[in-house]
Symmetry: none
Subunit: 186 residues, 4 copies
DNA sequence: CATGAATGAGTCTTCATTCAT
DNA sequence: AATGAATGAAGACTCATTCAT
């Protein structure tokens, strides 16, 4: 998608319109401005992430790492279903200069809160080792998994995901999870 | 600085020039093009990072976390001395579409290599716990520290660094390091 | 027209646009660059000259001066129909630094060749006096006519051609032609 | 010289200054503006042409073609002594948009008048054939010689004039003059 | 006299946005 | 609803001219 690829500023309405196969006027008939289109997409992506990713995470799973495993699987499925959504929302962190309207800004914060709660709520911290503060163990695990995720994305850059056997990557992922258990659990 | 804030494309020479308090022509008198200015800054930042950050890291310290502690301290000092340098180079990861000339591209790769070796070379892995692969322990520690660093930056956003008592933050940092030792060392 | 008046470099898109009564963007909507506009005009003028001038010259007329007479009449009509075309193409000789694309460069050479052949092909040189080389007589006649043409243009500078009785000028032209016959023919 | 090569508009003071080996300020110390430099050069060239070219033409020579022969020789010598002068003044015809100050404009007209008189004054028209108006014969001869000159210049383009044997070209020139005599004289 | 860093109006070009059709 | 021609503000860049040194 144009915004994710080029960022907000460099995304050209011309290219957007051509890619979408519609006339230029149509874009502004529906959206009134480039910014509004951006807002619309932002909104759409947030809704998609909630329905296709966050709501799939089972809060009854009280084991933190198992929960993260679920989350990873759900994320991947969502990404396959609509690639670009995560990239788009991720690119927002960079294009911070864009001023979202109050409403969407609020939704975004709610999304982040929801994401956090989906990951952290109702976790059985009694599984964690006791010589380190639980709060910190949360963070270490999260940072480790985020680090792994980022590294993986870099390794996969340029790979055609449609003709691609993900199994070995999942195996690796599970290995990392096991190690994390070994390290941070009792 | 303009580039770090807005990325390459949106950085406007008009704004740069106004912020720098110079006439419009001057920029092009010295740099001939916006791209050349970018390259110059890139080069400058790399040199700054080598001399003010990487070269301060003592490779004789064989304890990985102690080394990282050193690195953290050096990084902070460099950042106070010239804030924006790390932000600028960091922003490059995002603006990847900019084509650096061969020479600078090469220097950048060397910088990354140097950074890695400064952190990983001559580490005494015998200190690590043995039930997890050493390579992974490296990664977990690194991801954790990077995660902490990023979180800290977000917390400090908008704080005036010149009139600012960093001591409590250092204490917190050291606490994290102690925990990491507890977790990943024998 | 702007290019003919000011040459390529000084022709300002601002002026072009204002004179044409269109918005600034429109120029680049159609032509993408100033150079492309120049090429387009160049191409257009060449085609115009071929269809409105050169193709009107009857190569079956074997009398050199009669042929030139025809050419002069055709040229004038073309000039009235679209003044500026000859001026524009003429100005190119001066603005030689402009790099035409291969294709147009080739067409231009073909135009010159065609022009020459339209004037010189199938001429009955047996009409020429014999004490001077035929090749030179060609040249003398051509230079004379070109000189006359140029002088005439200078005399007519600033005259409104639409409300203008050309008859006396034609008479003068024919007189010159008669003299040339007297001089260069047997 | 810069102006002759690039025309007035494209002649860059930077290039002028570099070529002249002086600092940029010096140009404006002496001339106050680019235009004034142009005017100075214009004036200088006119004076040069008068002293090195026109004043060499002997008005006592009453044979028109012989006079032109003299003129040609003088022109060449002047051109060798200071190449570029004729080119510069010639280029003015093209850059007509430059507004010369009254004074220089007047001088230029005087120069043209002087040139004409040097060529046409005190000519023995009784040498001309009588079946064509003398005035026209003047013109035909002039146009022919101008045409020849221009053609020659084109043929010599890019030739290094310092290591160059002009003799054959003079021979050719004289041949043309002989033919002109044959044609236009009794 | 001499320099060249500094200026800012002007140049070509792009692009979000509007509007007649 | 739908199109794409038209607009003009803004962007990168140039260059004659000025001025502190």
């Amino acid at each position: 998608m144009e915004f994710a690829k080029h960022g907000y500023e460099k995304a050209s309405t011309n290219r957007i319109v051509k890619e979408a196969g519609i006339g230029k006027g149509m874009l502004f008939y529906y959206f009134k401005s480039k910014k509004e289109l951006y807002h619309y997409l932002f909104d759409y992506c947030m809704k998609f992430i909630i329905s296709e990713y966050l709501s799939k995470i089972d809060e009854n799973e009280r084991d933190f790492i198992e929960r993260y495993k679920q989350a990873g699987q759900a994320k991947l499925k969502a990404n396959v279903k609509n690639p670009g959504v995560f990239t788009f929302l991720g690119s927002f962190v960079v294009n911070q200069n864009i001023d979202l309207p109050e409403k969407i800004e609020k939704q975004y914060k709610e999304l982040r809160t929801l994401g956090y709660s989906k990951i952290y709520n109702n976790i059985d911290t009694s599984l964690f080792r006791e010589d380190v503060e639980g709060e910190k163990i949360f963070k270490f695990i999260r940072w480790s998994m985020e680090g792994y995720e980022k590294e993986l994305l870099q390794r996969l850059q340029g790979v055609n995901l449609s003709t691609f056997d993900a199994t070995p990557y999942w195996d690796e992922f599970y290995e990392y999870l096991d190690d994390l258990k070994k390290i941070f659990y009792k």
